[in-house]
């Protein structure tokens, strides 16, 4: 049979696809989704995009807690009588088919009245009748078609964030005023002594004045606040000269209008504000589907299943569990608290926490840590700590998480603006002094003109546009940064610290075989046996063995936590731990599976973390300009191997707890270093926040990442040196544009000092300088990005 890809999810169907309606499906799950869509007129789903679906996950009992009114109360956006509105975050939303099918949910259930997708945020907002359908049923409906929502503790604790739209309002006001004032100013620029114009002049000016008021008192209020704060801390930030310019512009123009001296500079003022706000919006590019502020709350479930003494199971909110309680953790559920395993076959996947991809087997009585995910059936555990006191979650009580990150590095624009402001004030003073002896009447005129023309419009625009554009370019290359400041910090890094597991290693394990090579029919037999097991290692091995034929297995037996055996084609296959095949093992740290055929041990499969492709090259490229280091929570088993890859002076530190990692970064910073931390798991969260720049490497950017300054897709990890270089070059572009904008200021200054700054000169100079700067930095950064 030819290889076919699944009609629903595009996965390889293997040798035995499920055929339905003349279409191939990889599994029954996908077929079921197709059936649901087929019966409900929803097949255009497959026309919009090719194979857009996802295999629906098993959700047996996972959402039972949604029956509890108290728990779900906080999840609703709105609830009144029988009308309920709820917003779900659905990671799988990725294409137009997703939008289409989710907005046609009402075809699947008449109780759902409307549903609306917000694609950039990967959210769907559903309005449904809670009398005829429960929230649980809605969630199960979504899950059944492969769109399982992610409901986390965060949804239940954080009050719904309000969207801040004030910047758009401000820009709207400024743009409105700019356009109208410009038109109303024009007549006076062209002909000022014409009869009719003279007559209407007062009216024109009055309208202009009314329109400028909201601009000055509303649109720029944030600049006033920022300048005030700066002055209070004795910092001359860029907002100080901006505000100074705005105030002087406003006062002088008002004076000119009311005393009929001239027409004022209101058009320049409104244009200036408009450009400023435009720059601000431009640099505010956000990746709304990514969250950079996550903590453990985003991953932990809202409720857990508590087992009472009389074996009664009940869902309780996660904050209500106490020490000594017993919990039921189902398959694929997260362990929310530290505890002891009581019963069940525990295979814990700690990849959320450490990035380690291989599951760990635990026996009853072993300690389980919060953050692990159970992956083979249900287990029962007893709680040792409450949620907030668990090993992992304790990290978040550290002060670092309370403070907003203040970059130790001074902002480039601000450091220039300090000198700039001082120089401008000196020039204004000297010019005033000079004119005092020539013509006293001109003093006020010249001094205000100097301050107006010095208003650092172009200067204030260059950084937002250059960095904002770079942020977008990085985004296209799959490096998603939190904001533009990160680019600046990135350019000043001098030491790079890597986490080991999951960061410089692949999350997919490398499987190698050592021992007597297996014959083809032995391999087929082995694969046939593995097919029956759902153990993660078996699944990995099953995918690894490259044989197409599958044979009948008899006497199959799986010993939990040990291994499997079965009879195939005359072979007695046993695969599992050393103990299971009756041999001694010398290396207990390695994850390995022994294969025995007809009682003879043939060899073993070794599961190893492999380093990411091109890691050597990355280290090589970085070592000349940066200090490098490894900071790992693991044992130092791979120290020797890493030593050969890294330069001699690199620091290799192992066996560090999450809090130790944080403190280590702090220590480096106290020594004056600018640290870039690259990590991936929740155990790096502290270090990521503490470092000057914390980057997260993620295999799937939608699923998981701890709080950080940026997220880099694992496929682009190799471009790291390039990213660092680009950020440095961007800063260079900004510096060059500073020079250009100061040239403009000097030209304007010449007009001002000689007393020739007429409104029309200002009206030309101001937009001209802004536009050249914007064009220059955008072209400059684009060129840099192209050069690669």
């Amino acid at each position: 049979m030819t290889k076919e890809n699944c009609f629903h999810c595009d996965a390889d169907c293997g040798s035995k696809p499920v055929v339905y309606d003349a279409k191939n499906f990889c599994c029954n799950g996908c077929k079921t989704v197709f059936e649901i869509f087929n019966e409900n007129d929803l097949t255009p789903y497959y026309d919009l995009e090719n194979a857009p679906g996802k295999i629906p996950e098993e959700i047996n009992g996972k959402y039972n807690y949604l029956d509890d009114e108290q728990i779900i109360e906080k999840l609703y956006d709105f609830k009144d009588g029988d009308t309920s509105v709820i917003t779900f975050y659905i990671p799988h939303i990725h294409c137009s088919s997703c939008i289409w099918v989710l907005e046609n949910l009402n075809k699947l259930s008449s109780s759902i009245s409307t549903s609306q997708v917000n694609f950039p945020k990967k959210e769907v907002r559903i309005t449904f009748n809670s009398d005829t359908i429960s929230l649980k049923q809605v969630v199960e409906l979504l899950s059944s078609i492969g769109y399982e929502p992610l409901i986390s503790l965060e949804d239940a604790t954080v009050s719904k964030r309000k969207i801040d739209r004030s910047l758009i309002y401000k820009l709207g006001v400024a743009g409105f005023a700019f356009g109208n004032i410009m038109l109303l100013s024009f007549p006076e620029y062209f002909q000022s002594d014409e009869y009719w114009l003279e007559r209407f002049k007062p009216m024109f000016r009055l309208i202009i004045f009314i329109m400028i008021l909201p601009v000055v008192f509303y649109s720029v209020n944030e600049y006033f606040i920022s300048a005030y704060k700066g002055l209070k801390h004795k910092i001359l930030n860029i907002d100080v000269p901006i505000v100074l310019g705005i105030v002087v512009l406003f006062l002088r123009s008002s004076y000119e209008i009311f005393f009929d001296v001239g027409q004022g500079y209101f058009d320049s003022l409104s244009g200036f504000v408009f450009f400023l706000l435009l720059g601000k919006i431009f640099q505010q590019q956000t990746y709304s589907f990514l969250s950079f502020e996550r903590d453990y709350k985003s991953y932990f479930p809202v409720a857990v299943t508590k087992i009472f003494k009389d074996r009664l199971e009940k869902n309780v909110a996660i904050y209500d569990v106490k020490k000594g309680d017993r919990l039921l953790i189902r398959d694929k559920e997260l362990i929310p608290v530290d505890g002891i395993l009581i019963s069940g076959n525990a295979q814990i996947d700690y990849s959320f926490v450490t990035g380690e991809s291989l599951p760990v087997t635990k026996n009853s009585g072993d300690k389980l840590f919060a953050g692990g995910k159970q992956i083979s059936g249900a287990i029962e555990m007893e709680i040792l700590q409450t949620v907030s006191q668990s090993y992992l979650t304790q990290l978040w009580s550290n002060d670092v998480f309370g403070n907003t990150k203040i970059s130790g590095i001074k902002n480039l624009t601000d450091s220039i603006s300090k000198r700039f402001t001082i120089i401008v004030l000196i020039i204004a003073f000297l010019a005033g002094l000079y004119w005092y002896f020539i013509d006293v009447k001109m003093v006020a005129n010249v001094v205000t003109a100097v301050l107006i023309v010095a208003c650092p419009c172009a200067l204030a625009l260059s950084a937002p546009f250059a960095l904002g554009n770079m942020l977008r370019i990085f985004g296209r290359r799959k490096l998603y940064l939190k904001n533009v400041d990160v680019i600046e910090n990135l350019s000043k890094i001098d030491i790079i610290i890597f986490d080991k597991t999951g960061t410089i290693t692949n999350s997919k394990a490398k499987i190698s075989y050592s021992g007597t090579p297996l014959a083809v029919d032995e391999n087929i037999a082995l694969k046939s046996v593995l097919r029956f097991s759902n153990h993660p290692l078996s699944r990995m091995l099953y995918d690894e063995i490259n044989e197409d034929r599958i044979l009948e297995v008899s006497n199959f037996n799986e010993v939990l936590g040990k291994g499997l055996e079965g009879k195939v084609n005359g072979f007695l296959i046993k695969i599992g731990s050393a103990q299971f095949v009756n041999i001694e093992t010398e290396n207990k740290l390695q994850t390995q599976s022994f294969v025995s055929i007809n009682g003879v041990v043939k060899g073993k499969y070794i599961f190893e973390n492999s380093y990411r492709n091109g890691l050597d090259a990355i280290f090589n490229e970085l070592k000349d300009n940066y200090e490098l280091g490894i900071l790992s929570g693991d044992n130092d088993g791979e120290k020797e191997q890493l030593k050969t890859m890294l330069p001699k002076n690199a620091m290799l530190i192992f066996n560090k707890k999450p809090v130790d990692k944080l403190n280590y970064i702090k220590e480096l910073q106290d020594r004056g270093k600018n640290v870039l931390m690259i990590g991936d798991g929740l155990n790096d969260a502290g270090a990521l926040v503490q470092s000057n720049v914390g980057l997260v490497v993620s295999e799937n950017i939608n699923v998981f990442s701890p709080a950080s300054d940026g997220i880099v897709d694992a496929t682009e990890f190799k471009s790291l040196p390039k990213f660092l270089k680009l950020s440095q070059q961007t800063l260079k572009v900004v510096k060059i544009s500073f020079v250009i904008s100061i040239l403009y200021n000097i030209i304007g200054m010449l007009f001002a000092i000689t007393g020739n700054l007429s409104p029309i000169v200002a009206a030309i100079l101001m937009p001209l300088s802004s536009i050249t700067i914007v064009i220059f930095v955008t072209l400059g950064t684009n060129l840099l990005a192209k050069r690669r």
Partner: protein, 62 residues
């Protein structure tokens, strides 16, 4: 030329009306999601086209 008073007045009023409409549209959330509507508007026809065909396949199922 006094007509200019009316003209300016009218033009300002129109401008202000548009400005209010802008504010109203921002308030109602039109600018919160700039992407999805661009995809959504392409759907309507597609669905109408497909309806008869899918109906048929349902009948076959029954």
């Amino acid at each position: 030329m006094d007509i200019i008073f009316i003209m300016i007045g009218v033009s300002i009023v129109i401008a202000v009306v548009f400005f209010m409409l802008f504010i109203k549209s921002v308030k109602s959330g039109q600018y919160d999601d700039m992407y999805t509507p661009s995809v959504r508007m392409l759907f309507e026809d597609e669905f109408v086209d497909e309806t008869p065909e899918t109906k048929k396949s349902i009948n076959q199922n029954q």
